[in-house]
Amino acid sequence: MQQIKWLWSVMDKRFHRKHIIALVISAVTSVMLLINPSLTSRLVDEVIVAQNPEPLIPILMTMLGFKVLRECMRYYMVISLEKTSQNTIFNLRNRLFTRLQYQDMRFFDTHRTGDLMTRMSADADWCRHFLSYIDYSAVDSVVMFLSTSIYFFFVNWKLALALVCVTPLLMLITKVYSKRVRQLFINMRDKLSEMNTAAQENIAGNRVVKAFAREEYEKEGFDKRSSAFRDSHLAINKLWLSFYPFIEILANAMTLITVFLGGLFLIQGELTPGELTIFTSLSWAVAHPMRMLGNLLNDFQRFSTCANKIMEMDLGKPSIVDNSCAVSHEKLQGKVEFRNVSFAYDGQDVLKDITFTANPGDTIAIMGPTGSGKTTIIQLLARFYDVRQGEILVDDCDVRKWKLQELRGGIGTALQDVFLFSDTAEGNVAFGNQELTFEEVRDFANRAAADDFITKLPEGYDTIIGERGVGLSGGQRQRIALARALAMRPGILIMDDTTSAVDMETEQYIQQQLKELPYDCTKIIIAQRISSVKDADQILVLDRTGAIAERGTHQELLKNHGYYYETYCLQNGIEIEGGND
């Protein structure tokens, strides 16, 4: 029930009335269904049996009129419900999408794409199905059953009572069934999600699959999920079929009771033949809703399983949101200060006691072994996670007091794991700054050494770049990602190993360009190459435990004879030997 309440709240207020009116129409039209059969019996009695053609046309026209009216109302109702359910699903999609867009990283660390996709497509579709079909069918059935029963009570209360006696039994059966089928639906829903995930990862990782010639293995894995999904369906069917006979017998009991108990009553004189005719001719109107009930019950259980999944997503608030006391900033100036920052992920320490300051315009470089937490530093700066201890200040204001959009809007990041969108090259560069002119896009692409190869693409800047930039080489993707970050005109520019796949010459060109940017910004560079970091105002070297082991300028660190010096020797020392040959 709480699912319905929630779904109701998703629907626009102005559609509430429309939806209720449609349900009322559904109720009215299901009662109207009883009118024409009774008119038919009048037709038989008054025209044919009485051999009197006079009432023929009026009765026929009334019937036709009723039919046209009913079907028009019915059509209107169906379309109304489609409209209101589409409105709801539209709101739902927007709401869930907004949720996703603002959800924190922990959420994405723990939810698989395939599962989220299932929620937003299949689950959402069941919510639509509920509003456009399940609810009115339920109203239809209940109204039909009740109105016929009431009518029966007026005709002969004893027989009617006998019929209604069946209902508690039916209630009992449906209750037991609902309880047992719920778990099966949850299971089926999970199997669907697992299958979805398997297919999604297979598509995303198709290069790896091919590289390892793992097609057969993938097929096996997918088959396993696909058959688990099939079996989950069959399990529901099996349970349903074990209950179906009872429901069907109860539905048939309606006819049984009318005919035989009615017959007995007739023999005993408790009932007139005319009354019995009414009962027999309308017994379907009580039996049919009972049959419908089973199907509706299944649909409803499935709906509520799906709705639960979506509700969980809808009601799951991100933990990283604008603070109530967040202050508005005009523009991000670029001062960055880490004060004794520590951070742990799932109980594993990642960063320990990080302290450094960068003034606007400074260049800070971060080095360190693989997995030492370099990328974490920038994720904390962009407030993807909140620090466990200490504080991070941007422009002398704690990042937790920044408005997220303003903070992130002022930071331009080129991540090492490049994700491009299936958009044109131009669209990808202008991703964070929609107002750029084409000249500006080219200018920034040029600064990132991307203009050359983009113009050589079949349709130049209008070429659609596939998702993740497939079709481009690693270095080319990185350069587009860099152009994208530059185009934001950020106050803080972060380059997370952005040029690792770019050849040295191009890298040098890019570094030169970075010195001549048309705006001021603080630069934070994460890199493995000495060449990328040596000109920084301050170089931080992290150690395996996530603490700062060394800091200083290139020259200072060389004298230090630590990790930096070792790396320098490894990268250069070999060259010195080579140069001496």
Partner: protein, 601 residues
């Protein structure tokens, strides 16, 4: 090839043809016997059902007037018996059909997925992943019911219809003609609606596919969107796609719902005309009252199956849009495939020949032209050169991810024979090659499983050894659950460098004859890289290897360095030879050396 974007509809060129139905029939015909049985059971259930009115009649006509309570009781038992029988029939039919429809889904999905495994990179590169996903999952789910129960039910309805028609005509031909006269009108309406309906549902499936594509992409790219504070723009794109979905849906349901609406209307009209004709035109003398009474009931019973058929047809038309998409995907040409008489590649020595190889990804734009290369068994080859020069292309061609435009690539087998890579099965070829790609994809699962992907029957110890060799064991062991820590592609659990180490371990585990490292260590710090190189030194000894790297320090010790530029090999030789040559490599090398701060010293 034109790439598809999330908001561009995928056009479907072929007009609908019966071929689709024939293909669908292939999936159905496997269950012929079961479906026939189900049909038979349904027929039995219907026939049993026919006795119910008969029993009612007996009760009313005989038992009640005779006040025969005993007969009433017997009839009640008979009634119960028939109901039970009919329930048994129905239960068995449902059980059978549930299996059939689930098997059909399963079979279609299996074939579709299997075909997807064969499709080239270009297929995946040219469309958003979400559009592929929606076909495998959502579309297949949608079509099953129509292909199983839809068919059974329409056959039943048709049989039903035939019976009614026979009964009707045997009652009164003239009146029957009036009842049937509504049919051409209905057919006309259907004929008018059909193309519109089909288009509307196709359009709806397109919009839905666009929506799903954008959704998948947004989830995968969420980190970038948040970093660029782009959520508002994304929301408006999403809204636009959702509006398109909504209006496409509404248009489709407007049309679809008019089908039942018109059939209901025609039924009532026919009923009216039939009565008027019966009473006036034919006159009480020609047509008996009983006939009119009976015909009045036949109207309903004739049009009921027609409405039911119209509804089945309706859902058939909207599912057809999905079926077309599914078959279209299955028809997607497999560019790189095993030859019919493909051999299993025996163990190879590692000797590789590139003979006059020409290749381009897009028509007319060659990446390599007339390239020749001979690599000896056990040789280590480094590929250097500017970004986009075709270094990765060379190794991609060796793995036969693409077919050559011209020329050939051959491998030497341990049996002394030479094998063209197009003559052997892809599976046996790639099993002997270990390629470590630029982007290291991590599957959701444990780290252990991710490494094991390289060799499925590897033991835990072998996995640990491989991880140790690439220096990944240290950080993996430090994780809370060690090798059993769960990771996923989007997750932040592993840093980029760590992901590279994991996929490096995965490649080593596969124990290839030829090892290909494409920027395998670009995100790994120099010290780890050094240790790693020492670690795999022994391993590399008897293997041919191709190494692509920008940091020249990584590749300096290779037996031969190829400088790739200008659609081919510009320079080749050992480090010392190339330095002595003072060509492109020398330039690159000195530039790097200068850049590294060597000049400062």
């Amino acid at each position: 090839m034109a790439r598809n974007k999330f908001d561009v509809d995928e056009s479907l060129e072929s007009p609908f043809d019966l071929g689709h139905l024939k293909r669908a029939f292939k999936y159905i015909s496997r269950h012929k016997v079961k479906m026939l049985l189900a049909l038979l059971l349904s027929a039995c259930a219907s026939i049993a059902g026919l006795f119910v009115p008969k029993i009612t009649q007996w009760v009313m006509d005989e038992a009640v007037p005779n006040k025969d309570v005993g007969m009433l009781g017997k009839m009640a038992l008979l009634f119960l018996g028939i109901i039970c029988l009919s329930i048994v029939f129905t239960v068995i039919r449902s059980r059978i059909m549930a299996h059939v429809s689930q098997e059909i889904i399963y079979d279609i999905r299996k074939d579709l997925f299997a075909h997807l495994q064969k499709l080239p990179f270009s297929y995946y590169d040219s469309r958003p992943a979400g559009k592929i996903l929606v076909r495998v999952i959502n579309y297949v789910n949608s079509v099953s019911d129509i292909l199983s129960n839809g068919i059974i039910n329409s056959i039943l309805e048709i049989i039903n219809l035939i019976f009614i028609v026979v009964f009707m005509f045997s009652t009164n031909v003239t009146m029957s003609l009036i009842v049937i006269a509504g049919l051409p009108i209905f057919a006309g309406i259907i004929w008018y609606l059909k193309p519109r309906q089909r288009k509307a549902w196709q359009n709806q499936s397109n919009k839905n596919s666009n929506y799903n594509a954008y959704l998948a992409e947004s989830i995968d790219g969420v980190r970038v969107s948040q970093l660029f504070a782009r959520q508002d723009v994304n929301l408006s794109i999403m809204e636009r796609l959702a509006i398109a979905c909504r209006s496409a849906w509404m248009r489709a349901v407007y049309i679809s719902n008019s089908v039942w609406f018109s059939s209901e209307m025609i039924t009532q009209l026919v009923f009216t005309v039939m009565y008027i004709a019966g009473v006036y035109w034919l006159g009480g003398a020609i047509v008996s009252f009983g006939v009119i009474l009976a015909m009045g009931q036949y109207v309903g019973r004739f049009w009921q199956p027609i409405t039911a058929l119209a509804n089945i047809y309706n859902s058939f038309v909207n599912n057809l849009a999905y079926l077309e998409r599914i078959f279209e995907t299955m028809d997607e040409p497999v560019v790189v495939d095993d030859k019919e008489d493909a051999l299993t590649l025996p163990d190879i020595t590692g000797e590789v020949h590139f003979n006059d190889v020409t290749f381009g990804y897009e028509e007319g734009i060659q990446v390599l032209e007339h390239m020749d290369l001979h690599v000896k068994a056990g040789e280590s080859i480094a590929l250097v050169g500017p970004t986009g020069a075709g270094k990765s292309t060379i190794v991609n061609l060796l793995c036969r991810f693409y077919n050559l435009n011209s020329g050939s690539i051959t491998l030497k087998g341990e049996d002394g024979k030479t094998y063209d890579i197009t003559d052997v099965t892809l599976n046996s070829l790639r099993n002997q090659l270990g390629i470590m790609l630029q982007d290291s994809f991590i599957f959701s699962g444990t780290i252990m499983d991710n490494i094991r992907y390289g060799r499925l029957n590897a033991t835990e110890d072998e996995i640990r050894t491989a991880a140790k060799m690439v220096r990944a064991d240290d950080f993996i062991s430090e994780m809370p659950q060690g090798y059993l820590t769960t990771v996923n592609e989007r997750g932040n659990r592993l840093s980029q460098g760590q992901k590279q180490l994991v996929s490096f371990a995965r490649t080593l585990l596969s124990d290839p004859r030829i090892l290909i490292l494409d920027e395998a260590t670009s995100s790994i710090d120099t010290k780890t890289e050094k240790l790693l190189q020492e670690g795999i030194q022994a391993l590399l000894k008897n293997r041919t290897s191709f190494i692509i790297a920008h940091r020249l320090s990584t590749i300096k010790n290779c037996d031969r360095i190829l400088y790739i530029s200008n659609k081919g090999i510009l320079e080749a030789g050992s480090h010392d030879e190339l330095i002595a040559k003072r060509g492109a490599y020398y330039e690159l090398y000195t530039a790097q050396a200068r850049d590294q701060g060597l000049v400062d010293e």
